[in-house]
Every structure is written in structure tokens, then in C-alpha cells.
Amino acid sequence: MIYLLALSVVLPTLAGFFLVSLFWPKARASARHSVLKASLAVGFGLGLSSVVFFLWLLAGRASAAWLFVAEIAVLAGLAVVVLYRSRKKEDSPACHDLHTDSSEPRPIARILAAVFAIALCSAVIALAFVSLARPHGVKDSWSIWNLRARFLFRSGDHWQESFSPLVMWSSPDYPLLVPGTIARCWTYIGEETQVAPATVSIVFFAATITLIVSALSVLRSRGQGFLAGLILLGSVHFVDSGGHQLADIPVGFFVLAAFVLLCMQDRLPQHAKRLLFLTGMAVALAAWTKNEGLLFLVAITAARVVAIWLTKSGWGRLRQIVPYAAGLAPVLVVVAYYKAYIAPTCTLIAPQTLQTVADRITNPARYLEIAVTFARKAFDLAHWTVLLLTCYGLAAGAGKPKEERLGITTAAIAILFMLAGYFAVYVLTPYDLTLHLRWSFRRLLLHLWPGIIFICFLLLRTPEEALVGRFQPREAQ
């Protein structure tokens, strides 16, 4: 059983690695790039395999062997293309020299790496214990995500019955990345086991951590990457949620991936199209994970336009929409089909009338309650981190992220748009506002939390730079 479960995770991760490699700027072998690609590969691979699983269901769910054969064929196809491409001489010097630290790690980076490794192991062991204590996860995981996975796995040809309005309380309009991934693992194994949702949950958690560390190692320095990883591993609510088998950590992963890829393409304009294609794919996978991912799609697309205007980057940059849309399209078509033909109307929209909407919009008490809760929950989540980052900022100083100015501005505006979107949803919610805020807002913050930490560390000087006392010149680009 454990081998089949491992196969069901490793196979799509390998396919994800080849997919990311296909669009990644070619560079000499570099551990930082490899870890970054592998981290992205986990999310892309599992996400796309859940899309393949959904298509397999739509096609009448032939035998599990066909699903396996289809995935092996995709993997082999991608491997052949990547190998063929690797034979071409196309080395890009800019790609492996983005970071500001030397190839030889400084003592401080070594210490941070050691502490980071211990903290990551400790977190993963803690999550394994959480999974043993709560094999079915928390209330929302078994009553929404694992329930849908059971429907997809157990129902045979009747799988669409799970979207019946009789189970409306289970949010049947939510997209299928998480339940599809779990049901796909069970299909591989041939039986249900709670190890599968726990594994998916922990894998996304670990991939988010390694993504932020490797991305900052590539764009800044090893020390900066490990510091960001340590901050994320020190966020109790983030770590705790890693074992809850919910979809919030995966959404956070794709939000972070989109920010990382946008900043990468700012630094590597000659490879912008490829990286924007991957950005589009990350955004679409966020939309395939949770309804909040659809909000992220709107937020980041609008944020890019506003950021281009604010930073005076030239309207010619709007042409970026083409590769970005090309990356969005494949998964977004599936999301659109799912929303149009399978999922019922979102429970937040369905029961509303114009009169009730008007009453809620014109009630100032709702705005006050939402604002107070936003502030309180954000303080609960971030007060230690903000204090620590302020100390670090004062000691190390601000960096000069001129090259990623557009990417950072886009991410910052997207975060603001997301918060504004969440605010609007709470103003209009048909549920009891106090309860709705209590049960959901802290989780919504997790979607943005890794991305916020990533942006903060892009704005600060690295420990290596600060210890030298000056900016180290980047190698020729």
C-alpha cells in the first residue's frame, strides 16, 4: 500500500518537474534552481494530476490501469521533450547568477541551514503526530474535502451525485484539486486510507516551505532563504494547519508560486514568456483549489495592470497577457466546465436577493465588525513575525530590489485586492457574520501568509550583505 501511495505522489511530481524544466531558463546545474524547480513541481504535478483525474471521471472512469497508463504516457512525453531540449546549446548566464551571495556559503548561512533543517524535521514530525491524532483531519476537512474525495472514489458512475443540493453544507461548489488528488491516490492504492489525505497535506506544507527558501536563495541569498523559511516554520497557525488536511495551505502554495515566478521573470526578461506561462498555470491551479483562488486570479491580473501603470514600466508590458493567458487556459477551461456543468451555485451567492444585499451593504456595523476582526486575527497571526522583521530590518537595512520592482508591486497590490475581496465577501455573506468571520478568516490569511513573507524578505537586505556592510555586486547578467 505504502509503495502505491508513494508512486501516486512521485509520478506526478516527476511529471511536474519535467513540465517546469520545459519552461525554465536553461542554466548550468545549480542546487538552488533544482530545489526551486522541485518545489514548484510538487504543486504543479499534484495539481495537474487532479485535473487528469477529473477528466478521467468525466470520460466514464475506465479502469484504474488506464489512469496509470495515461499518466505514464504524459510523464514519458514530457521527459522526451525535456531531454531533447537539453541537447540544444542555449545556456543563459543570467539564470544561475541571480543571487547576491557567493557560491561558497558563509558561516551564518551554514548555521541558519542547520537550524532550518532541524526546524523542518521537527515540524514534519509534529504534523505526523497531528495526523495520527486526527486521521480524518478537523471538522471542515472531513465534512468538505475528504467527504468529496470519498464520493469521487466510492460512487462509481454516480460520482456527480455528491454535488446534490441536499449536501449543500459541504460546500459542493468548491473545486476539486484537493479531493481529486486524494481520490486519485486511493484509486492508485485500490482502497481508502487516511494516510493519503495526511500525506497530501504534509507534502503541500513541505513544498511551500522549500519553495520560499529556494526562491529567496535564487533571487537573494541562502541566508535570506533560510531566514524566511524559519519565519514560516515559526508561524504556529501555519504549521498547525499543515496537518489539518484542508485546502488553505495548497492555495497559499500557488499564491506564493505565482509571486515567485513573477519576480523571476522580472529578473530574466529574456525568459519572461516561459515564466509567465508557468505563472498563469500557478494562478489557474489556485482557482482549481478553492473559490478564493478565482478571486486571486482576478486580483493578480488586475494588480499587474495597476502595477505597470504605477511603476511606469511601459504599456508594452501588457503584451505579457498572451503567455500568461496561455498558461491559464488549460486548467481554467476545466475550472469553467466544472463550474458551469457540475458544481452547484456558490452558497454565498445563491440565497441572496437585491433587498438583502442592499441591507448588508448599507449597514456600517458590518464594516466595523469585519475591520476589527481583520485587525485582531492579523495581529494574532503576525505580531511576533512583524516584531522580528522590524528588528531585522533595523539591523540589516532595506535592500534595493530595483529589478523586481514590478513583481513586488504586483504582489503587494494583489494582496491588497485579495483582502478587499475577502472584506466584500464578508459584507455580503448570507451567514451569521460573527460566526462566518470566526470560522474562516484566520484560514484565509494563510492563503496570503507565505506570499507576504516572501515579499518582505525581497525588500530587506540579506544577512550576507549586511555582514559585509555593503551590497555585493551581482555577477554579469
Binding site: 537550524v115 471538522k139 460520482w159 455528491s162 453544507w169 544577512p463
Partner: protein
């Protein structure tokens, strides 16, 4: 006293490490808190309904009656009986009874057209709706 930049950086990095250590102590504390109740209520639901599942059709909709005022009861029943759909009413051909205390069982099922088919024990019952 003005500290050198490198000293300041080293102090802040030490603060980072202290922060992570303290937060992990909190995380371990939270994990230990999970252990006493083990949170296995859902698993116990799965087991409670094992015998009932054998008597139910593989697909379709069943009704639900319970003395449990918390909605978790129907959610956990739905989770256990998937892929059957558990409707929160008694207007179905088959109705699942999920009782936690003996007192209310007969009072709750007042409908004369609901006939007890089988009592599986442990508060789990199956009723049939007879034509009026």
C-alpha cells in the same frame, strides 16, 4: 553604546533562532493537547454504521432522524454513509436513526408511517416509510 552592524545582525539572527525554538515549543504543546481526546469521533462513526451499511442500497438518498441537536451528527453520518446521500428529513423511503440517548428515541419518531426495520444497537436504527 553603538553596536557594530555585524553584532546587530548576529543578535537579530539569534532572536530568529530563539523565536523558532519558542514557537516550536508552542506547536509541540498544541500537538500534545490533541492526544487525550484523539479526535477519533469521526472514526467511531465509521465503525458505528458498519452493520447498517450492509442493509442500505449502494446509491440513492436516505432520510435522517436524531436526538443530536448539533449538526455534526448528520455531517458525520453523511461522511460514514457516503456515497449514499443523507437528507436532513424523514420523507424518504429509508430513514437512518442516529441516537445518543435512549430517552428521545421513540418520542422523536412520532410519524406512524415510519416503521422500524432493524435496531443495530449503539443508537443506530433503520426505519422504512410505509405508504399512507
Amino acid at each position: 553604546m553603538k553596536l557594530k552592524r555585524s553584532t546587530r545582525i548576529n543578535i537579530v539572527v539569534a532572536l530568529f533562532l530563539l523565536f523558532v525554538f519558542l514557537m516550536h515549543v508552542r506547536i509541540v504543546g498544541k500537538v500534545i493537547k490533541y492526544w487525550p481526546n484523539l479526535g477519533r469521533d469521526v472514526e467511531s462513526y465509521d465503525r458505528r454504521f458498519d452493520e447498517l451499511k450492509k442493509e442500505l442500497p449502494p446509491h440513492g438518498i436516505v432520510g435522517y432522524v436524531s436526538d443530536n441537536v448539533v449538526r455534526d451528527g448528520i455531517h458525520a453520518t453523511q461522511y460514514a454513509l457516503t456515497p449514499l446521500i443523507v437528507a436532513g428529513d424523514t420523507e424518504r423511503a429509508l430513514v437512518v436513526g442516529n441516537f445518543h440517548g435512549p430517552a428521545g428515541q421513540t418520542e422523536l419518531v412520532k410519524d406512524p408511517n415510519l416503521v422500524l426495520i432493524k435496531d443495530f444497537g449503539n443508537g443506530v436504527r433503520l426505519y422504512k416509510r410505509e405508504a399512507e
